[in-house]
């Protein structure tokens, strides 16, 4: 990310911020979509996050950390969307979303089980899974993005993985599990 652009935006330069928003918009949205599993909610969270990033930008001490900080703002926007939308949108809509560019090596059964297991997780646990498995961040990086201790990240990952494993095992049936790698 262009540090000078960040510094100009911090100083109130709206044009510079516009460039920043377009530069980071795709990444914010894709992370939000993975956490919220809903395109409409993800678009709302992205929009809220961009406005919040502008509002809070002068408080960012180190412009070189802009991207990680922006993810933190986004994750908080996702939490807010998740709380507003207490009931997640129907599975059918999400499955349609996932067909776009879907990995042919993932079976329909795997996707369905992952989707259902993931939807049962609280947003805080979803976020750590997305930061680890989608953005490939390390535990200290996740802790830095979320602004929580590393131990908290470990704990959230532990519970999230346990819940996902339970979901996959509970839903596993001989006819479907045969398609998974062993």
């Amino acid at each position: 990310m262009d540090q000078q652009l960040v510094e100009r935006a911090q100083g109130g330069d709206e044009a510079a911020f516009g460039e920043l928003a377009y530069a980071i918009g795709d990444r914010l949205f894709t992370v939000a979509q993975r956490i919220l599993r809903d395109i409409d909610l993800a678009e709302d969270a992205t929009q809220q996050a961009i406005v919040a990033i502008w509002r809070e930008l002068p408080g960012l001490r180190d412009p070189a950390r802009f991207e990680a900080w922006a993810y933190r703002v986004l994750v908080n926007a996702c939490y807010a969307e998740a709380r507003k939308e207490r009931r997640w949108s129907p599975s059918l809509r999400v499955l349609e979303t996932d067909r776009v560019g879907g990995d042919p090596e993932l079976s329909v059964a795997d996707r369905d089980e992952l989707e259902r297991g993931f939807r049962r997780l609280p947003p805080e646990q979803r976020a750590v899974l997305v930061l680890q498995h989608y953005l490939d961040l390390t535990l200290p990086q996740i802790a830095g993005v979320l602004g929580v201790p590393i131990g908290t990240v470990r704990s959230r990952l532990h519970y999230a993985r346990r819940a996902m494993r339970a979901a996959l095992e509970a839903d596993a049936r001989p006819a479907l599990s045969g398609s998974r790698p062993s």
């Binding site: 109130g12 918009g25 795709d26 992205t46 993932l106 795997d110 609280p122 131990g151 470990r154 532990h158």
Partner: protein
């Protein structure tokens, strides 16, 4: 491939699915709000920036001068007479929180902080400039924070020293609000403590939460011991009592 690695592999592939491009209208809609959205804390940021870019020697001298003045004031106020409580200084803090090499059995030491970040470390309800009331608490002198964990639980040990018991009480109230509020930890059950002058032991019935917090004040010192995950509440209480003993 074992089950754990298999799940990691499935999650990696599954997360790669899905849209990768945001609709232009989303960014455009956000940008229409920018001209009417005021940036917060610009003045504060400039002040912080000037502080952060001071030459280290100047900063250290400045901090030392403030610390000496605060200590002198404390000693004058305490009277220094026989029988008065020991005056806690920032030098005592490393021995008051759980030291890095004395964590609970089986837990590894993750991190230690001893700067102003300790003030916002326990705060999860606000970010950015909304955190300023926590970061700039009146009378704050020094703090120390250590963190330990293993795969199923973690322990946080925290202490913040203030110039006076009044400042410490104000701070304690802030953190209690964080522990109890919906936006914070939302811990509903509060039990009394047998040590400290004010404080409590909070936990919750929610199995997803799994957080226990002991937060208390002893003189001008606010302390906390907290755990998440699978941790014996009696052990946590013992850890907190030992912290309090070391602060006497």
């Amino acid at each position: 491939m074992n089950r754990s690695r298999e799940i990691d592999h499935l999650l990696d592939r599954w997360m790669d699915d899905g849209p990768t491009v945001v609709a232009d209208r989303v960014i455009a809609a956000a940008l229409t709000e920018i001209p009417t959205t005021r940036q917060r804390g610009a003045q504060w940021a400039r002040l912080k920036e000037s502080f952060m870019t001071m030459k280290p020697a100047v900063t250290v001298l400045g901090i030392a001068a403030v610390a000496v003045a605060a200590l002198a004031a404390l000693q004058i106020l305490a009277g220094g007479g026989v029988g008065t409580p020991r005056v806690i200084t920032s030098d005592d803090l490393p021995a008051i929180v759980v030291p890095a090499d004395e964590g609970p059995a089986g837990m590894q030491h993750d991190i230690t902080y001893d700067d102003e970040r300790i003030l916002i470390r326990p705060i999860i309800s606000v970010t950015g400039t909304d955190a300023i009331p926590y970061l700039e608490q009146p009378g704050f002198v020094a703090g120390r924070y250590t963190e330990f964990s293993h795969s199923t639980a973690g322990l946080l040990s925290w202490a913040a020293l203030f110039e006076s018991a009044e400042d410490a009480q104000r701070s304690l109230d802030l953190y209690i609000e964080e522990v109890e509020s919906e936006a914070g930890y939302a811990l509903g059950n509060r039990a009394d403590l047998t040590f400290g002058e004010e404080g409590g032991f909070w936990d919750d019935d929610d199995p997803e939460n799994d957080i226990q917090v002991i937060l208390w004040r002893s003189g001008a010192l606010v302390m906390a011991a907290a755990t998440f995950g699978d941790f014996d509440p009696d052990e946590l209480r013992t850890i907190a009592e030992e912290m309090d003993d070391r602060a006497q």
